[in-house]
């Protein structure tokens, strides 16, 4: 379903950015030869500290960024050569991507359904199902800027899933959510996996990764330093829980930028 081969993403830094980062290098390697593959019916987690490169990798998969080196295929489509086909088969959710605050969740759901080329009756069926599951019906006609953070996140999730995609990529999906809303989101991700979809999440919350993910890839300083099921990672690092395993790997691989 998703195949990443030697993905390297280099950002050029402006003089201002170089000053901010206190570095003399005019580039930053956000992803460094990352390879991974994930399949149908799997919940794959990318675990790493802030700024490790998780979002960059996911953005490359979602066709928003182009790899500097390497290649990525999603459902058999190359992200550079056939970006439209890739976008048809994925849902991508991140904190920085938002819904137009002037519209209602219902309007946005319909709008994005149309952009995905769906007909009205299919859109309505999907809406009833997703709005019902996330409890959006009560505020579906309210403007998004009048909603609470949790309501907004639920609406964003529902809208991103309008076209019933094969691959669901959520970047830190429970960030900023209360425990009840966070639980409904993770439950839905599990449900998607059970329906045979591929779900990829990025997180820096250990407990979430531990409970949720079938396999975990640990990203530190742009590199994938370990990958496997939870027991595999614990054995590999000789630790008892994911947090300890992560810190072992972090100590070993974290390189401060020059």
């Amino acid at each position: 379903m998703i195949e990443i081969k030697n993905l390297t993403k280099v950002y050029k830094l402006s003089k201002k950015q170089m000053q901010e980062r206190k570095t003399k290098n005019n580039f930053k390697k956000a992803a460094d030869s990352v390879s991974l593959s994930a399949n149908k019916g799997e919940l794959y987690g990318l675990l790493g500290p802030n700024g490790a490169g998780k979002t960059t990798i996911l953005r490359c998969v979602a066709t928003l960024l182009q790899p500097t080196e390497g290649e990525i295929t999603v459902c058999g489509f190359d992200t550079v050569k056939e970006p439209e086909n890739v976008r048809k088969s994925i849902a991508f959710l991140t904190n920085e991507i938002k819904l137009d605050p002037q519209f209602s969740p219902k309007f946005m759901f319909h709008f994005f359904g149309k952009l995905h080329g769906m007909d009205d009756s299919t859109i309505n069926k999907r809406r009833e199902m997703l709005f019902g599951y996330f409890g959006i019906n009560d505020f579906q006609d309210k403007k998004i800027n009048e909603l609470s953070t949790g309501m907004k996140q639920k609406a964003s999730i529902a809208v991103s899933l309008v076209h019933d995609p094969e691959v669901i990529i959520f970047d830190e999906p429970t960030n900023g959510l209360d425990i009840v809303t966070a639980r409904s989101v993770t439950d839905y991700l599990k449900k998607m996996k059970e329906e045979g979809k591929l779900v990829i999440v990025s997180t820096h919350i250990m407990s979430e990764a531990e409970k949720l993910c079938d396999r975990i890839g640990i990203i530190i300083s742009g590199q994938k330093v370990a990958e496997g099921t939870l027991p595999e990672l614990l054995t590999q690092t000789g630790t008892n829980d994911l947090e300890d395993a992560f810190f072992e790997l972090y100590k070993e691989h974290n390189v401060e930028e020059a």
Binding site: R59, L65, F112, L115
Partner: protein, 407 residues
């Protein structure tokens, strides 16, 4: 192209479901334009009335014999005080400077004698007027005094000297001015409109595009809502065209409302100024001219929307976009203004292909009925060609991760 249609629908929806936007984009400008012209007209009428109703304070020193009668007969209404030659005028001059006194008229000593005993080549006696040109009351008082009093007085003295004044006129020029004006009234009106209209049209269209374009593109980038659209299977080109067409529709609408407001208010303004006399101001179009004007304006809107959109997509914040767009607006204003000063001289055909300027001179030509098909074609062609280049650049910018995600 379904995606493009959806985006246009959404953009129009965004504006028309937001009461504040409707008011600020469409209603407020119209009310302001009408209100402004009405206000200017009222103010001007009030000013004219005020000057007419003002009773001037005039001092006349050393007036010749019989002059008081002349003043009385002339109908010159003012508060006049006569002085003899020995009285000091310093205070009166100070009054003129301060605006409390309007006019001081001083006759030479022995004025009448000097006039009567004038011999060819001798000194001509002088009447001095002291007034303040920066004071409306003072200037008007002097003008009225010259035409109503001194002019008549001089004529009377000349009649005494020569008997028949016609002797002093060798020939007349245009004794009947109406006959000598050979003019096509419509073209004359077109010429007046042609100096102003291109500038206003240009400005109105650009200001509409500016306020909308920055929000629809930079605003969406800033809010993170653009990215959600970039994640759909649409090609970037479709998103760009959807944005540009919806902005063009909204800008045209905003400009049309401005135009209607102006059409409604200009006659009111003229009426205030001329006291209801509007004869000769009749501007009418043939259907072909109307279609041509519409086509020129629509192509211009599309060009402006493209200019604003390119600036908006390259800007990271709305503030940055505003700093990009402001100098562009000045250039556009200048191009529109050129028509105010260049008149309708013969221009090289190729100049019609210069964007903005070409449209301005085409509108000017159209108003006097001199827009040929070649000129019209070059104008539209030049404008669309540049707009398409800009569209290509915008699509490129939409594809650039550096521009869209600051990556």
């Amino acid at each position: 192209m379904n995606g493009m249609k959806q985006i246009i629908k959404k953009e129009l929806n965004r504006v028309f479901t937001d009461k504040k936007l409707i008011v600020s984009l469409f209603i407020l400008p119209a009310v302001l334009v009408v209100g402004m012209y009405f206000f200017i007209g009222k103010m001007q009428t009030a000013m004219i009335d005020d000057i007419e109703n003002h009773i001037s304070s005039v001092y006349i020193q050393n007036e010749p014999e019989g002059f008081r009668d002349i003043v009385e007969i002339s109908g010159f209404s003012a508060n006049i005080q006569y002085m003899n030659e020995k009285e000091d005028v310093t205070e009166i001059k100070n009054g003129i400077l301060n605006g409390t006194t309007d006019l001081l008229v001083v006759f030479e000593d022995d004025f009448l004698n000097k006039v009567e005993n004038y011999n060819a080549g001798g000194n001509i006696p002088d009447v001095k007027t002291f007034y303040n040109p920066s004071e409306e009351y003072s200037g008007t008082a002097r003008n009225n005094f010259l035409t109503q009093v001194l002019g008549i007085y001089q004529q009377q003295l000349l009649i005494e000297r020569f008997g028949d004044l016609s002797q002093l006129t060798a020939f007349t020029i245009d004794a009947g001015p109406e006959e000598s004006e050979i003019v096509d009234n419509e073209k004359a009106t077109g010429k007046i409109a042609g100096t102003l209209l291109p500038y206003f049209i240009t400005l109105m269209l650009f200001s509409g595009a500016m306020s909308l374009g920055v929000d629809a593109i930079t605003g969406e980038k800033e809010r993170g809502t653009m990215a959600s659209m970039l994640l759909t299977p649409l090609k970037r080109k479709e998103i760009v065209l959807g944005k540009l067409f919806s902005l063009s529709i909204l800008s045209s609408l905003s400009a049309a409302i401005y135009a209607i407001a102006m059409i409604i208010s200009i006659p009111a303004l003229l009426k205030n100024l001329t006291g209801g006399d509007q004869e000769g101001f009749n501007l009418s179009f043939t259907p072909v001219q109307m279609i041509e004007l519409l086509a020129i304006m629509l192509s211009l809107v599309f060009l402006y929307v493209s200019i604003v959109s390119l600036a908006a997509v390259l800007a990271r914040t709305a503030k940055e976009a505003a700093t990009f767009v402001s100098p562009l607006m000045i250039i556009v204003m200048l191009a529109g203004m050129i028509t105010m000063f260049t008149g309708n001289g013969v221009r090289q055909l190729i100049t019609y292909a210069i964007p903005v300027y070409g449209s301005a001179i085409s509108i000017q030509d159209l108003l006097v009925g001199e827009l040929s098909l070649a000129k019209f074609g070059l104008t539209i062609g030049g404008t669309i060609a540049v707009a398409l280049i800009l569209v290509a650049l915008i699509v490129r910018a939409f594809n650039s991760e550096k521009v869209m995600f600051n990556a």
